[in-house]
Amino acid sequence: MQDVALGGSEVPRDPVSVFCLTGLASEQERAYSLPIKISFRGTNFEIGRRLNVHTQRGQFPTPEMTIEGANISLSYLMVGNAGSPRLSRGIFQALMREARVANADGHFDYILHANRQKCLSLLEALEPHDSEVIVTLRQMLYFQLETMAFCIGTREL
């Protein structure tokens, strides 16, 4: 992992947040979902990137969740973790159990799909361009996609 100084911040970070803060592309252990609003099989998800807003569940910090009918808001969502590849899906499954939403795996896959698509769409948009910042942005997206690939299996919280 590249060590990137972020002013001593304790806020969790991923390649996207490091790029936003420093303009650098760096490998990070975790990837968090991009901010998205999606509807899938009757449930509307709004996922933010307030990475410092969390609730403790067992030994793990997990996102803050608010539920209003079929609308579920999450302050953030981890979508990949190189050190604990089973954790991302495990957290989401625990949250969905709490929210009484069935087919958590399908929903999680859809969120992963939406995130990967956003990264790939941005790569496509960058394709015709070449400058230092564009190259760095591409590198950042490669890191984000790589970290998101560390989403393997699941575990109980």
């Binding site: 590849p85 399908g106 799909h113």
Partner: protein, 347 residues
């Protein structure tokens, strides 16, 4: 002794279609066209449907094709009639290999040969490009031509004259297959395109040197150990069986090891199918942990394509652009893996 190659450069389209029809083929409303990338087919009258049907006797196994001098023909031993073999040789000379097929193949192989050494090495080591990038130049051009024109019929790579002239595109006409023929039919406004379910973005690059967005992605060949289990994945798309509406790989399993002839890892139109196939096949082989195995396979594929994208970063050329796009399209199709569904039982 096999007959010499027929002289046929002066065969025109209408004469060729007459011969095609006399051997049982059907061709309605199609004329030679020129697609965006390579030669192709067009409707003679765009207000009318096109129809092309190639009967069994004109479906030639790629393995039965031989190149002789500047031409190509079907081996005597193939079991095809003399009339069919004569048609094939004349057709190839006038409209396919002898027309632009050969020069196209030379161009593609030259472009791939001109890739930077580290990209060529990555393609050979990680992406199974050995037969495209290594060996005798002429043989590679001939093989590339066959790979780019063949389709799977009865799980066998075959050349279907006339249909093989159509360019491939995911939005094209479906290639319908029965036991007795291969057929495309429908309305097209401009170019006759054929959709090819057997190819993903990366295999399209491999066969054409071009990038095209495909709805499906298949895993790269790999071997992985997960605990006491071993999973071997090949990329032999023609080794498949039907289970209900789904085409699934052939498996061989024994003693904690399973070998799959190929594995789909994403499909934009059937996003639950990829994981469903692996779950079902591993369960039937008495193996657990299919979800984790599937995630691992996805991850390994993702990492390889991102590594390739990184390797392409410092380079600029038309082939590099196609390669980058092909890798991106492959990753895109791989994202289409959402949920899971059961397969129908083996009939």
């Amino acid at each position: 002794m096999q007959a010499p190659m027929p002289e046929c450069a002066d065969w025109n389209w209408s004469e060729m279609l007459d011969a095609f029809r006399s051997l049982g083929g059907v061709a309605e409303n199609v004329v030679p066209g020129r697609g965006v990338t390579h030669r192709g087919l067009s409707p003679a009258d765009p207000s009318q449907p096109v129809l092309l049907r190639v009967p069994q006797n004109l479906l030639f196994r790629s393995a039965d094709v031989e190149f002789v001098g500047d031409g190509m023909r079907i081996r005597d031993s193939a079991g095809a009639s003399e009339a069919a073999r004569d048609f094939f040789a004349r057709y190839e000379s006038a409209f396919s290999w002898g027309a632009e097929g050969k020069s196209e193949s030379l161009e593609v192989i030259r472009a791939l040969d001109a890739l930077p050494p580290e990209i060529r090495a990555a393609l050979m080591e990680e992406f199974d490009f050995g037969d495209v990038l290594e060996g005798d130049f002429t043989t590679r051009c001939q093989n590339r031509f066959l790979r780019s024109r063949e389709l799977l019929w009865a799980n066998t790579p075959c050349i279907a004259p006339v249909i093989e002239l159509a360019n491939l595109d995911a939005s094209g006409l479906a290639c319908e297959q029965t036991e007795s023929c291969v057929e495309i039919a429908g309305h097209v406004s401009d170019e006759v395109l054929v959709s090819c379910a057997d190819h993903d973005a990366f295999s399209m690059f491999r066969k054409s040197g071009c990038s095209s967005r495909e709805p499906v992605a298949f895993s790269l060949p790999m071997q992985l150990k997960l605990g006491d289990r071993e999973i071997v994945i090949r990329r032999n798309r023609h080794e498949a069986i039907k289970r209900g509406p789904d085409r699934v790989p052939i498996t061989i399993s024994a003693g904690g090891k399973i070998e799959l002839s190929y594995l789909m890892i994403g499909h934009a139109k059937f996003p639950r199918l990829s994981r469903g196939i692996l779950r079902t096949l591993l369960r039937e082989a008495g193996m657990q942990g299919a979800d984790e195995a599937f995630d691992c396979i996805l991850r390994l594929n993702t990492m390889k394509f991102i590594k390739l994208l990184r390797a392409c970063e410092p380079h600029r050329s038309e082939t590099i652009s196609h390669l980058r796009r092909a890798a991106r399209f492959q990753l895109e199709a791989m994202t289409c893996c959402i949920g899971s569904r059961e397969l129908e039982p083996v009939s």
